[in-house]
Symmetry: C2
């Protein structure tokens, strides 16, 4: 089965909204052995939508459409569906009930705009919306499947997870070709150096495919194996993984979608260790990422965002004279921050960051992007210098990633140097 | 001029990477009076790329292609360009020089893979890359313009900002139709209620268009006016803005791309106020957002991420017995946290958050999504309860947004209730 994704909304075209929906749907669909031939974004325009549907059915068997189903006047996807399938609107009593009970829970009254949301195209099977008022549609027509969902991410996600994917899996049965993918997540090594270290790729891959996916968090290596034998595909993938690990293993922090915060959470839990953070330049970005992981309260004790020097002195016991002498952005202060947060919190590990994120604040020997990351546990206390780039937000992200990688390497006893 | 955007990369199709590039390009291009007809994502496949180029030129005058220009084997866009334009590779000495000096700055040696990056299609004018090794291309052909850039966001961005947009603007001259857009950013009011409060839209808009763009941060209202008279378009836009503000003004925190963190930063700076944050459930997400703003050190004093109860007691002077009696997630504790961070830091305003982000930690009368946000300044000290949803990450984001909105309304003296 081949999928063609269509996202509808001017806000996506003119860059007011980042299209996270296609990434979510693309991942779900491809994990379920459906290949994606193309994904398109078009504006809120009836004729363009109709034209795109005409084109999509020449490329895909499964057309997934998101966006433009809301209650307001810029939402014209439902009209496009009516016209394309030459069908009419009917009231769906289940949807009306859903809307009433949702409004009831939120203490609001039903209005004309809500009632209108219960009108759905006659040709469609309704996909109920747990998180909003607009239902989705499942339409089977001329051997093609059309799925239509609202564009609000959490509404779309629940529909895909609970209705669309289970129904697709049931429809498809067992696949004839097996596509196995594995992603190895690296950080701290540039793409070209990684490629060099892997050496001869043909030898390494034995017919498999590799993709290098760089981002501010590192380079992901995606390996794809295709075979009519599932076992064979799995084994080749394992073999390639072993070879890659033998060459660049120290840079690999996780597999597939594992984030570094997930990985360090697991490591800390397994070892029953508790950490605390002292952030200056990253402003809480590190603790924010750490606490994105459910259950992080068992290993994250506290964080301090010591933006002012007073906070560094009062909360982290950093020596005021040291700040004057070496500057707040220095190896010595980073080390004292890490030491301070460890001792004040009673955690097993203290991590600290101090740096210049830009665009202002640089000095001659400390350009924008200079960051010191401190690490202290019961045995070692160190601080390492990093030199990132010009962009404030990217610098914040790279700094939090580097801090977590330092944590990972220290916990696992992997040397910090290349 | 009509633009057609093509993003190349399997990682975008299968959802390993969120496509932020099209949003960036879409925004830039549309701000410069170029309309975008469509945006597509296709995989790393030579034939599909060629087919897509054939299709794109039937829809657009300007084809912008990103991705697949890197140094590794999955990067096949250059090959596609060679084939499509029936051209050959030539060494570009400027690019070779750029690559050498970049590697030199980073203390690395030039290798075969780097030298290969200096080979560019003969038909192309080179777009130099300030942040990486792969150059971009500008190709004019049959009255169409093709722009090709790497997919790494910061490499693409510098090329668009410094080369592509200035060159396009110069080429286009003065527009004949003026399209003026304005976005009003609201938070704390659902889409359907907002629509109801705006009343009769035809009356309000006088021929202009409106779009409602909901997200976890609120609903944006985008108004679009088209006219052959620039002054007229501007005036109508202003008039509509005034009418909207008279109806739902209290929910509007900003215009166009202004984030709430930018707005509160400006308000604090203007009033010479300093704030400090005490976060439990959001784990530093609030201070992270506040410090995303350059210059925030002048109004953000410090933050405490009091994940453990010990941290609440030690760093924020919250009464230990109160935590036992009312629970860490309670109105009383939220208020003490805000009071505590204000007094400990000496800031003018203290903001606090405590809540249950999920998926675990709920109790009978405190379901997942329960959050208390505390606010204290020299005159008032309050805490307000919010009930968000089931998703941990969304709950964190909504909580930080709500906290900043409370800050904004308090500073401006706008009542918190609807």
């Amino acid at each position: 089965m081949k999928a063609y994704l269509i996202s509808i909304g001017d806000e996506l075209l003119i860059g007011q909204t980042i299209n996270t929906n296609v990434a979510y749907i693309g991942k779900l669909v491809s994990e379920n052995n459906i290949s994606i031939v193309k994904s398109s974004v078009i504006g809120d325009n009836l004729n363009i939508i109709l034209e795109e549907l005409d084109y999509a059915i020449t490329k895909g068997d499964l057309i997934i459409i998101t966006g433009g189903l809301g209650p307001t006047r810029d939402d014209i996807t439902r009209n496009a569906i009516l016209k394309y399938f030459n069908t009419e609107l009917v009231v769906n009593p289940d949807v009306l009930e859903d809307i009433k009970s949702m409004l009831n829970r939120r203490g609001r009254e039903i209005k004309k705009t809500h009632e209108d949301q219960a009108m759905v195209p006659k040709i469609a099977e309704v996909i109920r919306n747990e998180n909003g008022t607009a239902p989705g549609y499942w339409i089977e027509w001329n051997n093609k499947i059309f799925v239509v969902t609202p564009g609000v991410p959490y509404e779309m996600k629940a529909m895909m997870d609970n209705f669309v994917i289970p129904k697709l899996v049931e429809k498809m049965g067992k696949p004839s070709e097996f596509i196995k993918k594995l992603t190895l997540q690296t950080t701290g090594i540039p793409e070209s150096l990684l490629s060099d270290r892997l050496g001869n790729l043909d030898e390494l891959l034995q017919g498999a495919e590799i993709a290098f996916l760089p981002s501010e968090y590192g380079v992901r290596l995606r390996i794809t194996v295709k075979s009519d034998d599932e076992e064979k595909a799995k084994n080749l993938l394992l073999e390639i993984e072993q070879k890659i690990r033998s060459k660049v293993g120290r840079y690999i922090f996780g597999r597939d979608d594992e984030t570094l915060e997930l990985v360090i959470g697991r490591l800390l839990k397994e070892r029953d260790l508790r950490i605390a953070t002292a952030e200056s330049c990253t402003g809480g970005g590190l603790s924010d990422r750490i606490t994105n992981i459910s259950g992080s309260s068992s290993y994250f004790e506290r964080g301090v965002v010591s933006y002012s020097n007073a906070a560094k002195v009062e909360l982290l016991k950093v020596d005021e004279d040291l700040i004057k002498e070496k500057g707040a952005v220095s190896q010595e202060v980073a080390m004292q921050m890490a030491e301070g947060i460890k001792s004040v919190s009673g955690a097993d590990i203290g991590i600290s960051l101090t740096g210049i994120m830009g665009p202002y604040g640089a000095s001659t020997n400390k350009p924008v992007g200079t960051v010191y990351i401190g690490y202290c546990d019961d045995k070692v206390c160190t601080a390492k210098k990093f030199q990132f780039g010009e962009d404030r937000i990217l610098n914040k992200r790279r700094s939090t990633q580097a801090a977590m990688e330092i944590l990972r390497r220290n916990i696992l006893g992997i040397p910090l140097d290349d």
